[in-house]
Symmetry: D2
Subunit: 367 residues, 4 copies
């Protein structure tokens, strides 16, 4: 229980380091009979993989996934599915100079003090590269949820540094490297990132993800509330420092008459709840917003200490994402899918198939 397993019934056990021979995961508890091949998983991995624009790390990883187990003649068998991704573009020498010091804002310091040993190659286990297997597992969850309930997932960047990105259309998202839902703002984002890179600095971002067509009734009263599990999943993504469900921090200043989503036979009138009440899904869209901090590995010199506790100046070279938020959208989607998948199975366990003996109202608020 050093924490490398995510989920309770749809369990994903993650392994690997940034510059080891391979990374991967084992998915235990997948329902049998799901049609599955690498082709179902690779597209989401491709959305996340590095080296696809000048605004992300230049490490070139194909992130080709191999299914090692759990699938027979193109269908899941109900036994563990091992996904393997070989690392192919390690350059560990890039990191040699940081072995004796701690980068400000980096897990260097905490790993060293916890374990008395750390794998410095590419950040080792603390690298965001370890989200790749989760994106793979998320693709399996997404496929099952879509077939079973029609549930779908999507996400976009809503802020890059100080630049807020006004929502225009989901259609824009796949057509720019930022997952921005706004085509017009892309040039501004690009020059912002170019300047940042030149300055040897990094910046934060805000990401929004949502699930649509969610069955009502997923979750638990306490403690495994659907929103609590979502918060756990999101805060577990590298560099995330804040999580909101629905109205989030805006609900602090709201009155009850404003916040509580009214119900009509035609559906909910609003969605401040973000699709969760009392820890259980309402059938509304589940909406989540996360804050991602700036990358800690930057070229600008910074004050730190070495292993002996003496003051040093640290500057980090090598290949890094100047804004890890840029590639975070598919990761957050995947984590949201994994949470819903887990609770879908938990619901079946305790309550059997989704209940239909009372009227359901449409989950989506009218636009």
């Amino acid at each position: 229980m050093s924490g490398s397993t995510f989920g309770t019934l749809f369990r994903v056990t993650n392994f690997g380091e940034s510059h080891g021979p391979a990374i991967g995961c084992v998915i235990d508890g997948c329902p049998p009979g799901l049609e599955l091949s690498e082709a179902d998983i690779q597209p989401d991995l491709d959305r996340r993989r590095p080296g696809t624009s000048r605004h992300v790390t230049q490490r070139n990883e194909p992130d080709a996934v191999e299914i090692l187990s759990g699938v027979y003649e193109g269908h899941t068998t109900g036994t563990p599915i091992c996904l393997l991704i070989r690392n192919t573009d390690q350059r560990s020498k890039d990191y040699g100079n940081i072995l004796q010091t701690f980068r400000p804002g980096h897990a260097d310091y905490t790993y060293w003090h916890k374990y008395g040993i750390r794998d410095p190659r590419g950040g080792g286990r603390s690298s965001a590269r370890l989200t790749a297997p989760m994106v793979g597992a998320g693709a399996v969850a997404k496929k099952w949820l879509r077939q079973q309930y029609g549930t779908t997932f999507r996400g976009c960047m809503t802020q890059l540094g100080e630049i807020e990105i006004p929502f225009e259309s989901w259609d824009h998202v796949p057509h720019n490297p930022f997952f921005a839902p706004n085509a017009g703002i892309v040039p501004q984002l690009e020059s912002y990132m170019d300047a940042l890179r030149k300055a040897g600095d990094s910046v934060g971002a805000r990401i929004h993800v949502e699930a649509c067509n969610v069955p009502v009734g997923l979750g638990a009263p306490l403690f495994d509330k659907l929103d609590a599990d979502i918060a756990y999943a999101m805060m577990g993504i590298n560099a995330v420092k804040g999580v909101e469900i629905g109205a989030g921090f805006a609900s602090v200043a709201q009155k009850g008459t404003e916040h509580g989503d009214e119900l009509t036979p035609q559906g909910f009138r609003s969605n401040h709840a973000g699709g969760v009440l009392g820890g259980i899904s309402t059938g509304q869209d589940i909406t989540v917003s996360i804050a991602i901090k700036p990358t800690s590995s930057i070229r600008t010199p910074r004050a730190s200490i070495d292993l002996a506790g003496q003051p040093v100046t640290v500057e980090t070279h090598g290949r890094h994402d100047p804004c890890v938020g840029i590639r975070a959208t598919p990761i957050a989607e995947a984590m949201l899918a994994l949470v819903l998948m887990d609770h879908a199975l938990r619901h079946r366990a305790q309550c059997g198939d989704v209940r239909v003996d009372t009227p359901r109202i449409p989950g989506r608020a009218p636009d």
Copy 2:
């Protein structure tokens, strides 16, 4: 696994409903030999209990805790500690009129659709009353952590509705019903709440909690990151819609040069990390901020549907907190303590006693 157990090594299993005969919890995994009696637990319960000012629910519950097991001659034995709190002031008739309808923003709707049955008496299991046993369990965790590491916990309200509460001093917190760290603002908070109550409305709040003197090294790389588990714990508190660690959402607009906390032999220069890097504690104070939504049970009439899906108007009478955030501070402290306690035991399991073979720097940033 319907989710009523919190923690992995220091496990708290919660039971009860708002208007049932009793609520309580079973704490499994407490280290043996801790001096413990009801007197260690009651003070925190008293900080949370209802009926202590006109700004909270007028339900009068002494919340007297009884230790049923796990303690022998004043010391914990290492076996499960059952805490029992009898409910004494139920008035379930207050809720009779809501049995056929769903309150907007309330768990009524989701419980009904998940389980096909709901206990309407005082919100049943969805009541914030179920946080009382967690406050009790948190008091046990606090005592052990204080003895073992000197770790302490504190919290305060930082915003009530639109009113931001400037921090003045921790000394003010115990002396007003809002847990406000500012004596001068209390009259404004009181008249705000009086007006709200008169209007039959409710409002949100923001709470800050922190842990001081935290050992370095608590947490795990993934997925049971210390901050992920904190997010899970906080989002699992009733009515919470957002969680931040350290700089939180402010880190979106920060540069890496600003956000990354520099290290010196005298300690960290700042604490944007909120005490966690790579999912593991740095030894800095752990700082957490949460958003609490307005109560859904309000007197103002609102649109809803009944069990048959027909439109109705709902107004809720009975005794409710017009701002559940007012009593949330000791709850958030308790949940933070439970997370740290769990990870302290997990650390001992994998890594043995806290490591001392490298220099540690002071965790607290200079004021």
Copy 3:
């Protein structure tokens, strides 16, 4: 995770000590909508309770169960069910003399060395009294399984000390204090126990339990095999030293041609498997046999050491069962029911409702 929770989806968390104020358990994960009251649980508790014949401990406990939560208007709500049983006949002075020594064969020694503290009153947590809440939880599981699948449970004693008890009929079991399936042998068992009591000694026993009308498909390939979980459940009962499924140790000397149960359209021809193949139920009766050691608390003087490691002679007075096996039958039935209940929910989670797309053959072998 000090181990006081049994099960994964139908989770039972046990608390209490033999001479504390109360014992009990919290059942988490029970499906909603099950009709349930104390009257469903008390009969099984009465079958297990002490003081009902001269062959068991003379401690007089009504073992009256109280449901503290999780039931509303006579039906389970899907939230945790707390069962409470008050201790009423403690006489802790009986045990005063053993506080400085270790009884041979007793948990005294191990508790002391593990925890550095032990509750000596009636054996504290190590008392078989703690099986009472499990019998209560088992009654809930039995009721649900009977309603859902028609599954039933039964058990009997098959050996007392050297006396093997030939099976005659299940009808005899409720009519003698030994749960013997043979009326004629009861006088012999009684005089055997009388002599044993007079001699200040104790003796072991063998118990057989089975489940009938078990759905095919419960269990998992590895490690949570149905038979592995049964072994865990049975070996976890106080004083159990051996567990067999189906042919058990007899299968060592069997040939494959003898052991493998042949299938016909009319059903299995035999049941050496004991109802489990590859860790998954076949639909045959699940048959389990357990060995229970003699009670360690006996009047006969024995060699031991005291807390300082010095040699002493120990003899134990007070009220004890001279054969704990006598009351073990309802306990073993309950544990078997809890295992099946857990796997029934796990099956629903991963595979949905029981599959019916291939022919099933009768599970019971012809007599």
Copy 4:
């Protein structure tokens, strides 16, 4: 939670099928700083691997293990250790004829009814081949326990079919293919197996394993008793039908005066307890005996049914172990090591380092 993870703090997640591309496991929770390479693991795998004598399956697998993660510069880092073993000698056509039928005594029937799909290639997930990764994980646990406490493990065959094998010396075990602790009986075992193979039949076996130099205090009162977890681990090994701790089923006929192991300042006088009292280790050797059923895949024709429920005759060709018990000794040792490892970490979590404030007596009974 389809059950592919073993352990709670030292967690081993197993994946793969007999004839898939690879099998393996992920070990999560290993303490950091343990010197580890493939050379520590391979010897135990070699003891278990097939094709080493004419008495076991002729499948030729080198079972070469590769460490994919969790080790840096020859030491464990505290992060997950993935062990990968490629399958190299699959011949799946051997199994083509059994796809439409069910082998008596085989998991064919139960997998099909549970999942609606099964991987027939070499038994798929139900193959004993999946114990190989556990032997690998067990080797890691053994190394840590030996370094930390001096704990060692050993095992031997005590019965093959009707032939009981009198214990002579541990020295004989490595020098015959049966793990027999008796050199003189080996010719008899060989001719027995030769006759069996010729007859197209299979047979059961009994295996004894033990742990020496076990720290006192490992385990938990209930339910995760050390012996309960051992029973779970052993019954989870393929083909096991019975488990005994210490005196096992012999304790049924024992008196308390005989069974309870007396204590003296020089140590315990006997070890009927098998090293466990009240679910917690005494420091005595932990002794375990298991019954292994005969292999179900045999050449002799047997009655069965096909997928349509029609009667058929089944005979199984291909490569199988005529007695799976022959290779079971290293498997049982590994599982015992995994249980002790898990409880060693659990003990550290709750109770800190092993207690030394009271006199300990030698665990081993005098010979």
